[in-house]
Each structure stands twice: as C-alpha cells, then as structure tokens.
C-alpha cells in the first residue's frame, strides 16, 4: 500500500465514521442519564428525510441541517413522552420509534425520491490539509465533519469537566439520590433524550445532505443500530466512541479496498470482518467485569418512579 492509498483510506474512514459518531455521541448522553433509546434508526431516517426535503425545497443545505436536527428532536419527544411520562418499557418504546420513523419517513418522503441535490462541499483548509497521511482526513472534509469534531469536544468537556455533566451522570447512576438533592430527574432525562434525538437527526441529515446527497426509503440501512452498538462497545466512554466509530468506518472501507487489491476471499466473508472485529474488540474490552460496572450507568433502562 502506498502513501496515497493510506491517506485516502484515512479520509474515507473519517467520512464513513462521521454519521456513526454523531448518532453514538447523542445516544451516549442519553444513556448516561439512564435512558436507553433504541429508536436511533427511526430518528435518523426522519432526520435524513426532513433534511433532504427542506434543503431540496429551499435550496439551502443549512436549512436542511436545521430541519434534520429539529425533526430528530421532535421524534425523541414522542419517545420521551412514552418512556418518561408514561413510564413505558424503554426497549419497546425505542423499537416502536424505529418502526414508526421508518414508515413515516417513507410515507412523507415519497415525493423526494430520486431527486438530485448538490451536496455539501468540502472546506479544504490550506496548509493543514497538506500534512502527510492525516492532513486530508482531518482538514479536507465537509463542514458537518468539522462540526462532528466540535461536538465530540463539547460532549467530552460536558461529560467529564462540567457541572451539568455531573448532574447528568448523577441522574443516570442513582435517580433517587438525585431527587434527594433537589434535581428534577424527568427534566434532565428529557433534555438528554432530546439531545440524542437532535444528534440522530443530524446524523441522518449528514447522510442525505453530504455523504450521499439523495433521499430514498430506509437509506440508513442499519447505521442507527451500529451506532447503538458503538456506545456499548465504547463502554460509555466518550473517547472510545470516537475510536469505535472510526474503527468501524475503517473496517467497512477496508473490506472493499481488499477486494480492489485482488484479495481472493469471498466478498461475503470479507463483509463479515467489521462485525467480527467488533465482537473481538468487545470481548477484549469487557472481560474485566469490574471496569464495565464502573462505566455503565447504574439505572440504565429502568423507569424512574417518583416516590410521592
């Protein structure tokens, strides 16, 4: 492999990992508050559809991005109402959101299928983008990729170095003691769920506005699930979410590159590589039980009953 090829693979790795990173960051915050939302795929699809529809009608990509975020948030409110207000089972509510989002996006989006749109163009940063190997991957991307870097930093600081981040974790670890010190569990959880929805919507809009600027039914093709898996994979640590997203991006590019290099293994077997790799890394990461317990939010998935 020559330098150019590696540079290009790194570039593609960041792009491929970006939607996963965005969605997984949102879900991480959501899960830190103790809420498991399996509706990522549905919110992503709605975000992708709304983003494309608005960008196509208004001709402004940034309106599309905003619409994707807003619709993702709206969808998450639906989940929030069921899971937080009505204390419904979170797994089931999330699944319902995914099915509903897939159906609704196909239903509303049917007028926009097959329509062309000029996608988001790269902002190439001079000088920096000429750094060998990593320059292109980090400094010749479209603005949403840069936004994902910023959001990663923001989430990192929020979780580890801010007071609201502490509150979020307190609510996720032990809602009852959070109430005891005067925090509103439901409000914190609502905000976390909405952030998750906004990020899923943004991830979807990234697909339909930058990655493959088009809308079609079910275009996320399971990426919402992969993002969910990444959060567990990262054992709820922000840095590892980034690592996981790019690792998965690299694996899904690499099996295609290997075909191009003429590796004579069945493409079907090569296609299992990213999933095998995920399982193996997961085994390596989770064998230490004590460490997992340290990072998984204690009350994850458990409804919170306000004691009156």
């Amino acid at each position: 492999m020559d330098i150019d090829l590696i540079t290009n693979i790194l570039f593609a790795m960041v792009r491929t990992g970006t939607p996963l990173l965005l969605v997984a960051l949102g879900e991480l915050v959501c899960e830190k508050s103790g809420v498991l939302n399996l509706g990522q795929e549905g919110m992503m699809l709605m975000g992708a559809m709304a983003g494309f529809a608005i960008a196509f009608t208004t001709g402004n990509l940034w309106f599309g991005v905003a619409a994707g975020i807003a619709v993702g948030m709206l969808m998450s409110l639906l989940f929030g109402f069921l899971a937080l207000n009505l204390n419904a089972n979170q797994v089931a509510s999330g699944l319902a959101l995914t099915i509903f989002g897939a159906g609704l996006s196909a239903y509303i989006g049917s007028d926009f299928v097959g329509k062309p749109l000029t996608g988001m163009e790269a902002w190439v940063i001079p000088v920096l983008s000429d750094i060998p190997l990593i320059g292109k991957a980090l400094f010749a991307q479209d603005p949403l990729v840069y936004l994902s870097f910023i959001l990663f930093g923001a989430v990192f600081i929020f979780i580890y170095h801010s007071r609201p981040g502490l509150i979020l974790k307190a609510v996720g670890e032990s809602p009852d003691s959070a109430v005891a010190v005067g925090l509103s569990v439901i409000r914190v959880r609502y905000l976390a769920v909405m952030f998750g929805g906004a990020m899923a919507g943004l991830g979807g809009a990234y697909l339909s506005l930058a990655y493959t600027p088009l809308w079609s039914d079910n275009m996320t093709a399971g990426r919402g699930w992969i993002a969910l898996a990444l959060v567990v994979f990262a054992s709820w640590r922000v840095g590892r979410v980034l690592l996981g997203a790019y690792l998965f991006g690299a694996a899904s590019i690499l099996h295609l590159v290997m075909q191009g290099l003429g590796v004579s293994v069945s493409s079907n077997l090569l296609a299992t590589l990213p999933y095998m790799a995920t399982i193996i890394v997961l085994v390596l990461l989770s064998s230490n039980q004590a460490r997992i317990k340290l990072f998984a939010p204690m009350s994850l998935g458990k409804p919170f009953h306000k004691t009156q």
Partner: protein, 362 residues
C-alpha cells in the same frame, strides 16, 4: 376541572386486558384518518387492510404461513426477555437454521427415507441453537453485552447465508444464479390442507407456545427465569445458576428461530434463496413486546402483525395505497399499546381544581 393521575395500589387486571383492545381501536381510528388523508374512504380502507386479506380460507391459511416463523421466533424471545436476556439475534439464528438446514436437505435430495425430513429439521434447529450459544458463552465468560453481540451475529449470519447461496450450495444446474436446487418432495414440509400453503411449521409454532406456557407457569425452571428477570441479585441469592439459565434461554430461543428458518426453506419456499427472511426475527421482537411476553399474547400479536403485512399488500393491490402505511400502522399500534399500558398502573380522574375535593376523595 383538571386531570389527575393516581398510581393504583396494584396492577389493574381489567386494564391489562383492555389496554391492547383500546390500542387496537385507537390504531383503527388513526388508520381511518390516514385513509381519509389519502383521499380514500376510511371504512373501505380499513376493510381492505384488515378484513379482505383474511376474507376467505386461502387468506386465513396465508395468515398462518406468515405468522408461523414470526411466532416461533417470538416464543424464544419471550423466554429470553423474561430472563432479562436481550436477545436481538433471532434473525441471525433463523438464517443459520435455514442455511445449515438447507445444506442438510441438499444432501438428502435423492433419498426416499422418511427419516430425512426430521433430520433436516433437527439440523436446522441445532444450527440456530449453536448460533444462540455464541452470545450466551461470550456473555458468561467474557461478560460481553448480548444486545451488541446478537446484532453483530445477525449481520454475520446474513453474509454467511449469501456466501452459501452464491457459493457451495448454489444449484449446479441453475446457470450460476444464486439459489439452491429445489428440494424434493421427501424433504418438503407437508401442508396441512391440500391446495393451501399452510404447513407443519404452523403446528410447531403452536406447540412452542404451549411449551413456553407450561414452562413459565408450571415449572421450577420457569420460576427461576422469572426471578432472574425481575431481580438478578435475588436469583443469585437464591442460589440459581445464572450462567446456566442465560445459556438455556438462548439455546431455546436459537432453537426455535432455527426451526423457523428451516421450516421456511423446506416449507413455503422449497429451496434456499438469498432472501429467506423479510425480517421475521425483527418482527418477532415487536411481537414479543406487543404480546407482553405472554404465550397467548404473542400468539395474538403474531397474527395481528401478519395481518398488517398482508393488509399492506392488499392495500397496494386494491387501492394503490403506499407501502409505507404498513410500517406506520405497526409503529402506531406499538405506541398506543405502550401508552395505554399506563392505565394498568395508574388511573386518570377528572377532578375539580379545589383542594377540598382532593382531600375528600383521599
């Protein structure tokens, strides 16, 4: 006047039966509204969607054909979820059952022995069990999260199936197209009625429902599973072998899904094709929740789910309605059910805003 919400002292039995019905009625009303938005007659739409598909014996038998694999997977999932084991992998377990079962079937193409079919079915079920054992062993020995491993194993199983059907199991006389040879009569699941497609797999599904009903309500294993699901530390305290139970429920679930897979290829499909399952394993997750993990509940839920699928086909044929309506209905139904379940634990009352009234009621 204002609404007030009160927690019930105990779960309302009446509401736990009424909630699904209420959800169904709300879904039908929403459906009628959607048809109206589409410019169709609401009642005509509902009729086409929910009654026309099963208006004749053929339709009813097809309902069974569609529901059988979903129900088989859902019985296994219900047991898993009762034990708090979040198996998302029924789809992969089903595909492995279909793949390995087909491999066995293709080795019996020439045979006339009546042992061939049971052997093929067993192979398929075992393949599903083996695929289900992987996340169990990983969870027990490496503490991996089963949601994640089962999702990954679904993708791996799908690619293995594609590998098989494009490679070693391809019909040698099939011009290189990705299908296996057609299975011979001896290794095809018998149909229950001549001229209809309803096959033995539907009976397997009913049997599985009976089995989990007995296991859950009448056996010590069932009791252990329930305790494990409610409170894992209590299970630990009571000396239950938690790891053994995790393995057990995943083996059962994998076996049922594997059986569903091999029943599809030896039943209505009759050969191995790349698209054995249009997502039965995922539908089964919804069915398990819709049926609130209760044997009878999932039986009804699987029939309802199958009906929605068939209804969306019928809506397209008869009225040119968009396909997406089917998915919308499923999502909406699940939403309403979850919302209505609120009434099992809480009661809603109209009350006057003045505090005396509240006091006197309390």
């Amino acid at each position: 006047m204002s609404l007030s919400i009160q927690r019930r002292a105990e779960e309302s039995r009446v509401m736990s039966y009424c909630s699904p019905l209420l959800a169904l009625v709300l879904t039908l009303i929403t459906g009628a509204l959607l048809f109206w938005v589409q410019g169709e007659s609401p009642l005509g739409g509902l009729y086409t969607f929910f009654i026309l598909p099963v208006a004749d014996l053929y339709g009813l038998s097809e309902l069974g054909v569609k529901a059988a694999p979903i129900l088989l997977c859902a019985t296994g999932l219900a047991i898993c979820y009762r034990a708090n084991v979040w198996n998302i992998g029924a789809e992969g377990q089903l595909l492995m059952g279909a793949l390995i079962g087909s491999w066995a079937a293709l080795n019996f193409l020439e045979t006339t022995s009546s042992w061939a079919l049971p052997l093929v079915l067993l192979t398929g079920a075992f393949a599903g069990m083996a695929w289900g054992a992987i996340p169990a062993l990983l969870k027990n020995h490496f503490n991996t999260n089963e949601i994640l491993t089962t999702i990954m194993l679904n993708y791996i199983a799908l690619n293995l199936l594609l590998f098989g059907v494009h490679g070693p199991l391809k019909d040698p006389a099939g011009f290189n197209f990705p299908e296996s040879a057609l299975f011979t009569e001896g290794i095809t699941l018998p149909v229950l009625m001549e001229g209809y497609r309803l096959h033995l797999g539907a009976l397997f599904a009913l049997l599985a429902v009976a089995v989990i009903w007995v296991v859950l309500s009448r056996t010590f294993i069932g009791f252990q599973i329930r305790v494990l699901g409610l409170d894992s530390s209590a299970a630990h305290y009571a000396g239950f072998r938690e790891k053994k139970l995790v393995l057990l429920v995943l083996l059962f679930s994998g076996g049922m899904a594997g059986l569903a897979g091999v029943s599809e290829v030896t039943g209505p499909i009759g050969q191995l094709v790349p698209t054995v399952s249009p997502g039965y394993g995922y539908s089964a997750i919804i069915v398990a929740f819709l049926g609130r993990l209760h044997p009878v509940g999932i039986l009804l839920a699987s029939l309802l789910m199958a009906l929605v699928y068939m209804g969306s086909e019928m809506g397209q044929i008869e009225m040119g309605l968009p396909l997406a309506l089917g998915g919308l209905f499923q999502g909406v139904l699940l939403f309403y059910l979850l919302a209505c379940d609120f009434l099992i634990l809480y009661r809603i009352r109209w009350q006057r805003a003045d505090t005396n009234a509240v006091a006197s009621e309390a």
